[in-house]
Symmetry: D2
Subunit: 111 residues, 4 copies
Amino acid sequence: MSDLTTQVRAFAEERDWQQFHTPKNLAMALAGEVGELLAEFQWLTPEQASAVMEDTEAAARVRAEIGDVMIYLTRLADVLGIDLVEAALTKLDEVAVRYPVHQVKGSAAKR
Amino acid sequence: MSDLTTQVRAFAEERDWQQFHTPKNLAMALAGEVGELLAEFQWLTPEQASAVMEDTEAAARVRAEIGDVMIYLTRLADVLGIDLVEAALTKLDEVAVRYPVHQVKGSAAKR
Amino acid sequence: MSDLTTQVRAFAEERDWQQFHTPKNLAMALAGEVGELLAEFQWLTPEQASAVMEDTEAAARVRAEIGDVMIYLTRLADVLGIDLVEAALTKLDEVAVRYPVHQVKGSAAKR
Amino acid sequence: MSDLTTQVRAFAEERDWQQFHTPKNLAMALAGEVGELLAEFQWLTPEQASAVMEDTEAAARVRAEIGDVMIYLTRLADVLGIDLVEAALTKLDEVAVRYPVHQVKGSAAKR
């Protein structure tokens, strides 16, 4: 993970793209890539979507879109000085408190 | 990273939420969280956005939103059987070939 | 429709918000609102999503989110000098040519 | 506007695409198109973004993306039985009450 952060940073610096990689721009780029990821699933039935990785071509596209999303999320976190995994683990602890197992089990009320 | 994947999976399984965590639903949830992240930056000038982590309250909100995005991205990748870091590194290799340093240095033509 | 454009513009000008309503910021705000709209549907089955307007509370939330999306889209189009309905009709003509009825009938290949 | 709704509906029905045009799928498609719109602005400075319609090629792309967003928003509203303009006007009335001119003038606190 830290290796990925370093490689994405080097990729940007070699191309002198730090000037474009502001938090605002990177958040937009992240949203754009998530939009492309959505497009892979939008016309599929739930069943088709769940089986998407069995189709070689679709699987390759989904993997590439997931990769793009992760690249921009890693870059955005790096520019903001946020540790991505730590931020996720901290948030997970918070939502675990907010949604106690015995209250939400099997319910989609919130998620 | 693999620890995060395991913890997010356990979080979902304890709550019996696998039934909701289909690729299609998770892609939508990911997009929803990215929308909340965008909302943190949308009215800021580029300068304000770049300094967002210096404001304690805004920094906490941004860290929490980044955490949420990472949680859903991790969960989606897990459900699809995709290694997040590997997918990003593979894609980074591809874009490095597509955007050679000498051709794109300092240009926003593509990114 | 032109009445809506005028009212949204007046709303912004009365609050001296033109300074925030740049195309870039409005595009982000639009995406943020679409994220909130997605959140209304993300954990629903296709059947539940199709029946969402039968639940009074969910219907009110969906209507409000659709309203928000339309407000920002109207404002963005106004700031860019684009006629929203004309842009949609023009684009519809183009996709009608691109997806001839006899070729795509009943197929989700593209949409 | 009602003409647009009718034409978009006819477009879908001629292609037998009602089966794909569920609220959930259309919300995803809308988000995907907004992602493409964001991509037009993400690397531009605020100044470049504000002048985007002066560049013939960029203007055509932005107009087409706005058209796509409007098509899916119109279709989603139609499928849900929501009047798009009415929903926006109703919401505008609500936010006008929530953000009184004398309290928020010139402030980006909320928008």
